[in-house]
Symmetry: C2
Subunit: 236 residues, 2 copies
């Protein structure tokens, strides 16, 4: 399609519609789990659930509203071949709940042609994704639209936008390094597009940043850092 | 007051009323900061703000709603003397935004008499508390009520409750260890008081857990892990 490095692929997530069945499973051990609780006392376990009328039927007494998301949205990486569980500057398996209806995922293109791939639909996912195999893993239909834009010079990692927030993402282990990277991406964004002096961006983010780790089970951990758009209107 | 180890001190935060002036400052470097952005380009910087009608007057074009909180709520630790910036099983300087009006902070008592201390009022704080010296640091009036309860056997770290959530907290570095501890505290809570088998608690939390780090600037990092009370009503 003429996509080239130096551009970003903007993936507009228009509508995710999960199928009517989902699955979650715990392998008996994940990186999110406290080893001192003893995984051998539990062992692998799993659960199949019906998804009906926008709710996950957990049991006959309890259902949970779905929040459908795509765990994996990425382009082809430039230099290396990774297993599918990784994420990086090319996006990938970052398992961020904000990748849902109405989100725009901005991914720096790494190779000519971009080679968008998506997958890992979850009907719902808790922070940490502690069971490894999910989230409520499901199939379904995702309606997307893509466009190409020039990449801002100070952008390295995928960004996400929706009506309410601008968001940066990063991957690292330990988790604090993922935070530092997502934070530096946000500082550079505020400098580059919202007319902040860096020192003012530091003090501003100290008050208004919302940030959390979305998964602790992949080879690197995912941080998402968010600023409300209404807090930025005055800047330009 | 007859407070003894084996009990918890429940601190009901009834109303926090900040004074009309606040301060935030960045020392030029904190653990939350990405070193590769270069702290020497910014250096120490600070800002004094007026707090008026429930808003922080950031400048003549922008104000931010306050969310007042107590950064520090703790009892005396049992064995060691720590500087005031630490937090631990005794509570302390954990900088969790949820410690606000309507919250109950449950702290395991470590020494006879408990010796409650509070402080570090913030009119607002972003996740990560990236500037070190704040948050919008302020003084003010905090109306509290305390009571004593027996400590649940499986509780080690402070818990927080409000009308909407039950929450566990933990302190560690790297951040993933704080998550694992807060998660294990939540698993044990669900087992102990909400009739979950452990394997079911794992799969349940994989879907509904909300969790984040609230500060990256103290000697250990603070994790808060939350479950909506409405998701627990069916269990008992």
């Amino acid at each position: 399609e003429g996509a080239e490095p130096g551009q970003v692929l903007v993936v507009h997530v228009e509508k995710i519609t999960p199928h009517n069945i989902g699955w979650t499973g715990y392998r008996g051990n994940t990186g999110a789990m406290p080893g001192w609780l003893g995984d051998s006392n539990v062992g692998p376990t799993s659960k199949v659930v019906e998804i009906r009328d926008g709710r996950i039927i957990w049991n006959d007494k309890f259902s949970i509203p779905i929040k459908p998301m795509l765990g994996c949205v990425g382009v082809a990486p430039a230099r290396d071949r990774w297993v599918n569980s990784w994420a990086g500057v090319w996006g990938g398996n970052f398992d961020i709940q904000e990748v849902t209806d109405g989100a725009q995922v901005h991914i720096p293109i790494q190779v000519p042609g971009a080679n968008l791939h998506i997958g890992d639909m979850h009907a719902l996912q808790g922070d940490g994704e502690i069971c490894g195999g999910g989230g409520i893993e499901t199939g379904g239909i995702a309606r997307l639209r893509v466009e190409l834009k020039d990449k801002p010079a100070d952008m390295t990692w995928p960004r996400i936008e929706n009506d309410e927030y601008i968001m940066t993402t990063a991957q690292a282990r330990p988790a604090e390094d993922a935070f530092r990277t997502a934070l530096s991406e946000m500082l550079l964004w505020l400098e580059g597009e919202y007319n902040f002096a860096r020192k003012d961006a530091f003090m501003f983010l100290a008050q208004v940043l919302e940030a959390r780790i979305t998964q602790f089970v992949n080879p690197t951990f995912s941080y998402v850092a968010k600023v409300k758009k209404e807090y930025l209107e005055w800047t330009r």
